[in-house]
């Protein structure tokens, strides 16, 4: 029982993360998942390299084939991640709730933010490890060259941001719901909605701006002063697409590996294609469009951070407790429970005082009386003070007396005494008991 002499203000190490990294990572489950993922993308490798081998035998093979090998691999990994991330992260906190370990964890020094951080980062690290485990297959491109290490690193960073982003959805719903299955389903649905909505958003918004511009330009009766075809500059709205992970992946690959269909190579390329019409102000030189992937990454990491903060807030069992609020509650409370106010003083005085030096039996009576008083309050029967209770109890006592009558004739005499008893409710159980023994 050695007490830690100097308790640090903050925990040095995240216990949850440490546990999951040291203990849970040893589980065979981890290895199996990793193996399955590699087995899943292995056919792509085999197919490509078989194709290259055949091509080389016949005549020659372009370096671009390897680029396309990398593209195929990265896209496949992206969709695998999209598929398994919710399954892995959506149970992280809700499983703790189901195992009832969360309560215990919450009473420790760890704050909800730390718990969320630990849970989240362990999921992210695990998923990153899985992506990392596929890198040897990706690195096969270096056999022939054509891709630089830096480019592969850039793709790796982008994948990491993707994992971080998608994981935060799982953790968010996990901390919100009590049931893992509900959490998993919610995560999948919301993720799907999110991706489809954000991918459609820039194009929808630009379309709206375009039609507005058209309207303004061609309506010569009211807007004759508008002489440019693109009066409203809505081009920046295309940046709403930076919230979409799929567009980020598309842009990132276009910038690093390239797609071979020149202009359509990235989001930037796509913009150049339709630029003159849809986005008259943005050109392919526009810095924002050129920095699509970095902007996207920053946004997603911010989004993730906010997501986790909200999760931590929801997880906190005593959230929102502060002094001002407490005072407000305190001020409100007496008004709300006006009916219970009558019971309060009785108890406040009787219980603690009596327990110290009074005759114990009186304590019991006083306490029982106050219990009765309290009962009338909690049952929300406003007009039932102690007397009706007593009145009701008298029949019970009378019921017992006839039974006694049968056994002995003299007991009639007990009748005058029972009213005394009727004044105290507490006597009833004892009376019933006696009747019982007599039977």
């Amino acid at each position: 029982m050695s007490k830690a002499e100097t308790k640090p203000k903050k925990n040095k190490r995240n216990a949850v993360l440490y546990k999951e990294m040291t203990v849970d990572m040893k589980k065979p489950k981890i290895m199996i998942i990793m193996l399955l993922i590699n087995l899943f993308i292995l056919p792509i490798t085999l197919g490509f390299f078989l194709g290259i081998a055949i091509a080389v035998f016949n005549n020659a093979c372009s370096y671009r084939v390897l680029a396309w090998y990398l593209i195929a691999m990265v896209y496949t990994e992206f969709f695998i991640l999209l598929l398994i991330t919710p399954a892995i992260t959506a149970g992280s906190v809700s499983l703790e709730k189901e195992r009832q370990t969360l309560d215990v964890l919450l009473t420790t020094r760890m704050t909800t933010w730390e718990i969320i951080k630990g849970k989240y980062s362990s999921s992210v690290l695990f998923l990153s490890l899985m992506v990392l485990s596929t890198f040897p297959l990706l690195a096969l491109v270096f056999i022939y060259g054509g891709i630089s290490l830096l480019q592969l690193f850039y793709v790796g960073v982008m994948m990491f941001v993707l994992i971080a982003f998608v994981s935060s959805f799982g953790v968010f719903f996990s901390s919100l719901t009590k049931n893992t299955i509900v959490s998993v389903i919610l995560t999948y649905i919301v993720l799907m909605l999110y991706i489809s909505v954000t991918i459609a958003m820039p194009f929808t918004l630009l379309g709206i701006v375009k039609s507005l511009n058209d309207y303004l330009y061609y309506d010569t009766t009211y807007f004759s002063n508008i002489i440019t075809k693109d009066f409203i500059n809505g081009d920046f709205l295309v940046m709403t697409g930076t919230f979409n992970p799929l567009l980020m992946l598309f842009d990132c690959i276009g910038h690093t590996i390239g797609y071979d269909f020149s202009d359509l190579g990235s989001v930037k390329g796509m913009i150049t294609i339709c630029g003159t019409d849809i986005m008259p102000h943005f050109t392919d030189k526009n810095i924002m469009v050129n920095l699509w992937t970095p902007i996207s990454m920053i946004e997603m990491l911010l989004f993730t951070f906010i997501n986790l903060r909200i999760s931590a807030f929801f997880l906190n069992p005593v959230k929102g407790r502060n002094k001002s609020e407490k005072k407000a509650v305190a001020a409100k409370k007496p008004a709300n429970t006006a009916s219970s106010a009558s019971a309060e003083p009785v108890v406040a005085e009787s219980t603690p005082a009596a327990s110290v030096n009074d005759v114990p039996i009186n304590t019991v009576n006083a306490a029982a009386e106050s219990a009765n008083a309290a009962s009338t309050v909690t049952e929300t029967v406003p007009s039932t003070p102690a007397e009706p209770v007593a009145a009701e109890s008298t029949p019970a006592v009378n019921e017992s007396t006839p039974v006694v009558n049968e056994s002995t004739p003299i007991v009639n005499e007990s009748a005058p005494i029972t009213p005394v008893a009727a004044e105290n409710v507490n006597a009833t159980p004892v009376a019933n008991e006696n009747a019982g023994t007599e039977n």
Binding site: M1, S2, K7, P8, N11, A15, V23, K27, R99, Q100, T101, L102, D103, V104, T107, R109, T111, P317, V318, K323, V329, S340, E344, V347, A348, T351, P352, S355, V359, P360, I361, T363, V364, A367, A371, A374, S375, V377, T378, E379, V381, V397, S400, T401, V404, S407, T408, V411, E413, S414, P416, I417, V420, A421, V425, N426, P429, V430, A431, N434
Partner: protein, 315 residues
């Protein structure tokens, strides 16, 4: 040590805690008794910061710590009535994990886990999977977990439920041991006699309200006083006895069973003696005069069932 002041907690329209106040002194082994749904767990969960009270405050060592998570976590420890153990962790790893949750790492945590396992007699189960432990062992492991950060106050929610007599005895010994270390321990249970064996004081909660609090001696005395006095007199004098008893303010109720009178008496020992002497002074032949053995169970039932059932019937 712990001062709970006017706690209110409402679930829907139901008041789980209704103006609940309680004082527990340092070093006490406090038994917290109440029937199911009386508000024991709710109180404990509020005290350890797992639940937010609608109104009221909990003052520990003169400070309201409910808003200061880390300070509260350092002071108190909560062992719930469920185990909350991780699968595939050994007992040792389990303690290690919670030690690190309190900011205790490496060698220090090793030493601590070792000591705690010894304290709860689980040293030989060090490397056993937590899931493979028996109920009693799990309970003891959870207790060890609650002691990881050397808290001043321990909240144990029904620690003895579902344990066999041997496990219960072992738990009791450990708790007494802890109590002698100067820790304040609050144990909840729905069985008063069980707690009476080990606690130094007892509080009885009923429908969110503390109805009785006192040291264990007082509780025993109260239990004794709650049982009726049996007086055996000559059958032909019974009328006379009734007349005498009617004038006694402490007599609540008298029932006769042949020549035996059962008197529900609220006075103390002295007044009891005065009643006897008044009977004798009036020429009654008293053949026997004794109080029935009081049982804690009876006392508890008397307190707890005094109100609620009637209340429910009325509603």
């Amino acid at each position: 040590m712990i001062e709970i002041k006017h706690l209110y907690k409402k679930y829907g329209r139901f008041y789980a805690l209704n103006d609940f106040s309680l004082n527990v002194q340092q070093g006490e082994l406090f038994g917290f008794v109440g029937s199911n749904g009386a508000g024991k767990t709710t109180t404990m969960r509020i005290c350890v910061g797992l639940l937010k009270a609608d109104h009221g405050e909990v003052i520990i060592d003169g400070k309201n710590l409910l808003s200061d998570h880390r300070a509260l976590a350092d002071k108190v420890s909560y062992v719930p009535d469920y185990f909350g153990v991780y699968k595939s962790l050994s007992a040792w790893e389990y303690l290690h994990f919670f030690a690190s949750a309190y900011g205790i790492y490496d060698e220090e945590a090793d030493k601590l886990s070792e000591e705690l396992l010894e304290l709860v007699n689980l040293s030989d189960k060090k490397d056993t999977d937590v899931n493979g432990l028996s109920r009693g062992m799990k309970q003891r492991l959870c207790l060890a977990r609650g002691l990881v950060h050397n808290p001043d106050i321990l909240f144990l929610d029904e620690p003895a439920s579902g344990l066999d007599p041997k496990a219960r005895y072992e738990l009791k010994e450990i708790l007494k041991n802890l109590s002698s270390m100067g820790k304040t321990i609050i144990i909840s249970s729905h069985i008063l006699p069980e707690l009476a064996e080990m606690c130094t004081s007892v509080g009885i909660i009923d429908r969110g309200h503390l109805v009785l609090q006192g040291s264990i001696e007082e509780i025993h005395r109260a239990a004794a006083m709650s049982s009726p006095i049996n007086v055996t007199v000559n059958e032909n004098q019974i009328d006379q006895v009734f007349d005498i008893l009617q004038t006694n303010p402490f007599v609540q109720k008298v029932t006769a069973q042949g020549s035996i009178l059962k008197i529900v008496f609220t006075g103390n020992k002295e007044e009891e003696g005065q009643m006897l002497s008044s009977l004798i002074a009036n020429g009654i032949t008293v053949n026997s005069f004794y109080r029935e053995e009081g049982s804690l169970e009876n006392l508890f039932m008397q307190i707890v069932t005094a109100g609620p059932e009637k209340g429910k019937r009325r509603a």
